[in-house]
């Protein structure tokens, strides 16, 4: 009993401390994330006004429209392009991260700065730079003396997404590979495993959390992107992000835009849960 009585003030103090330290962050989350999100999501059950805006009459129509083949087709294209981007990013990112992890400390820093360097320039400017490279009279065609059509294709969108988000694959992979105990790989080699077997049975399974995190970091922004399809894809292919943007800005159909946003959030939550589960198991 005595110990309980003594413990209570300490526990209260801890709780108070936690409250004080957490309150700015929690307030930030509530005011700037949860409330706007709740407002957006609450729109999903109402109707578009005749001239835009929201009419507060209940409807399930916005959810019914989600399974329209037209919109499912756009989701399909987004999934295809985001998955392709993620896979290529993984194929390029893993060896890159592996090589950086093997570098001497001084060169490691240089390599990591080089990876992060593009982020120091505005995203839109970096995307526009690709137009200078790929356009009809652009740098590549001028250098090659060709008239290749390099822009405004789905492949160009994947190139733009890959360029923009590859660092988000390399960094978590590097972190996972760097943390690996070198003795594990040495032990594997001593027991007669080839370099490939060591990679397959030791390195890769132990870096699965990094792989998952990197894939998620690349997939999520790629899936919802709307700037790159517009600038590099010439708006000839649209992704979910464009669809949502168009509902809010062009159609002034906030309820359906909100329903699409809700669907996107639901997909991303599922992916986060999968990632959390895989990471916990690894």
């Amino acid at each position: 009993m005595k110990s309980e009585v003594k413990a209570r003030p300490a526990s209260r103090g801890r709780r108070l401390g936690a409250f004080v330290f957490l309150s700015p962050g929690v307030t930030y989350l509530i005011v700037l994330m949860l409330v706007p999100l709740a407002l957006v999501l609450s729109n999903t059950v109402f109707q578009r006004g005749r001239f835009g805006g929201v009419v507060y009459e209940f409807t399930t129509e916005n959810f019914e429209r989600l399974i329209d083949p037209l919109y499912l087709g756009v989701v399909g294209v987004s999934l295809k392009l985001a998955t392709l981007t993620t896979l290529i990013a993984l194929l390029i990112g893993y060896p890159t991260a592996y090589l950086i992890a093997q570098l001497p400390p001084k060169w490691k820093t240089v390599a990591l700065v080089a990876i992060v360097l593009p982020f120091w320039t505005n995203f839109i400017i970096r995307v526009y730079a690709w137009i200078i490279l790929l356009s009809g009279p652009g740098v590549i065609n001028s250098l090659l003396g060709t008239d290749l059509e390099l822009l405004y294709k789905q492949g160009t969108i994947v190139t733009g997404l890959l360029y923009s988000y590859l660092p988000l694959m390399v960094l978590p992979l590097y972190s996972a590979i760097e943390r690996l105990d070198p003795q594990l790989r040495e032990a594997s080699a001593n027991l007669g495993a080839s370099a490939f077997t060591t990679f397959r049975k030791v390195t890769l399974p132990l870096t699965v959390p990094g792989v998952m995190t990197g894939c998620l970091f690349v997939f999520v922004p790629s899936f919802g992107n709307f700037v790159i399809p517009e600038i590099l894809g010439g708006s000839k292919s649209i992704m979910v992000g464009n669809l949502i943007r168009d509902q809010f800005l062009k159609a002034r159909d906030w309820p359906f835009g909100s329903a699409l946003a809700l669907a996107l959030i639901a997909v991303l939550i599922v992916l986060l849960l999968v990632q959390a589960r895989v990471t916990r198991r690894a």
């Binding site: 407002l39 001239f51 805006g53 209940f58 356009s135 822009l151 405004y152 010439g234 062009k250 002034r252």
Partner: protein, 374 residues
């Protein structure tokens, strides 16, 4: 399509959302028309109000008014302050103006059909002609615009039409029909762009098929869709911001363009503008006063100031847009054949795009169907 009226009897799950929205609803769509309480409120405007107690905030496209406008307005009208917010599209302006709560905007520059939608949503202050004597400078045609006859809630700032902007040195035939754009010849294959804003995306096909730009008939929209779908493989892309650059660089040889955006003033003189024989639209960019404005006298004074010929002619002289102001256009030296050399009566042959209300979602769907097509 199950629709239920939102009542208090609905499950408690919706109550929280409803509460949140109740706060938001004050800036949302209202059933108040511009004729009722708004007119009464407008009656209270004082022609001799002390403008030094009022500040102005406008929203306008970047580069659409002189940079020094706030300083000039402050000096001339003696308002306390004037701030300029920028928007890059009508849609962004609409988001700003229709979002819940007070946007803080006194005067907004939006295109005619958006002014019509804002008015229908009960968000606009009726124009008080007695506070804007310079309305007399407008061409008579500018008071007969189909979306707002008599300038009851909007005052036109610029007007023009949509056509084909082309490279004189790269086309083998000067375009004169929307079909030149819709069914590009081999020399223009994949060197053509169309606008992405939905009503203008549909415009060339609508006119080529001989329909009204404001059609909401499903069978006509279906035919428009077929025509646009067949065109897509021959397009460079959809673009309504950088088509002028694409034309200048030679990446495109023909583009759908608003006349004022067609860079015909290009120093090399290689760029021309064609009015397609099937006809086109008459677009109007307008100035509107928000009902939520707390500076309505200053807002009217600002519009009156802009309609001053010396100020209004700036748009024609600097951004190559026709202004619906007779006195202003008479001040401008217009070279023969210039885009500015079109009489208001000719311009009025174009059909004004009006807001179609709920039917406008048909155009959103059409635009999604075309751009999503593989």
């Amino acid at each position: 399509m199950s629709r239920i009226r939102f009542t208090r009897r609905l499950p408690a799950a919706f109550t929280a959302a409803g509460l949140a929205l109740a706060v938001a609803a004050c800036g949302g769509e209202s059933s108040t028309s511009s004729e009722g309480p708004a007119a009464a409120a407008a009656d209270q405007l004082k022609p001799n109000a002390d403008l030094s107690q009022q500040s102005l905030q406008i929203t306008v496209w970047d580069g659409y008014t002189p940079k020094e406008l706030p300083e000039k307005v402050k000096a001339k009208l003696k308002v306390k302050d004037m701030k300029v917010a920028l928007h890059d599209t009508n849609e962004v302006a609409m988001t700003k103006l229709t979002a819940p709560g007070d946007s803080g905007i006194d005067v907004a520059f939006v295109s005619g059909q958006y002014a019509q939608a804002l008015n229908a949503a009960g968000l606009l202050e009726p124009i008080h002609p007695e506070l804007i004597p310079n309305l007399a400078n407008l061409y008579p045609e500018a008071t007969q615009l189909s979306y707002d006859k008599g300038n009851k809630y909007s005052v036109p700032y610029t007007w023009g039409t949509t056509g084909i902007c082309y490279r004189k040195d790269l086309v083998k035939k000067v375009p004169d029909s929307w079909n030149d754009l819709l069914k590009p010849p081999a020399w223009a294959d994949k060197k053509v762009t169309m606008m992405t804003t939905e009503r203008w995306l549909a415009l060339p096909a609508i006119k080529a098929l001989g329909y009204s730009v404001n059609t909401d008939k499903d069978d006509e929209i279906a035919k428009v869709k077929d025509l646009l779908a067949a065109q897509k493989p021959h397009l460079l892309g959809y673009d309504d911001t950088t088509f002028g650059d694409k034309l200048t660089s030679g990446e495109a040889v023909m583009v759908e363009a608003w006349d004022g955006w067609c860079p015909t003033t290009d120093p090399k003189g290689n760029i021309g503008f064609a009015n397609p024989k099937e006809g086109s639209d008459l677009w109007v960019d307008t100035m509107v006063i928000m009902k939520s404005s707390k500076n309505k006298e200053a807002a009217h004074a600002l519009i009156n100031y802009i309609l001053d010929p010396e100020i209004h002619s700036w748009a024609a002289e600097n951004i190559n847009y026709k202004v619906p102001n007779k006195a202003a256009m008479e001040r401008v030296s217009i070279p023969k054949g210039s885009l500015l050399d079109i009489k208001p009566a000719e311009l009025l042959n174009g059909e004004s795009i009006i807001d179609l209300g709920q039917a406008s979602t048909k155009y959103t769907r059409l635009s999604t169907e075309i751009t999503a097509q593989q």
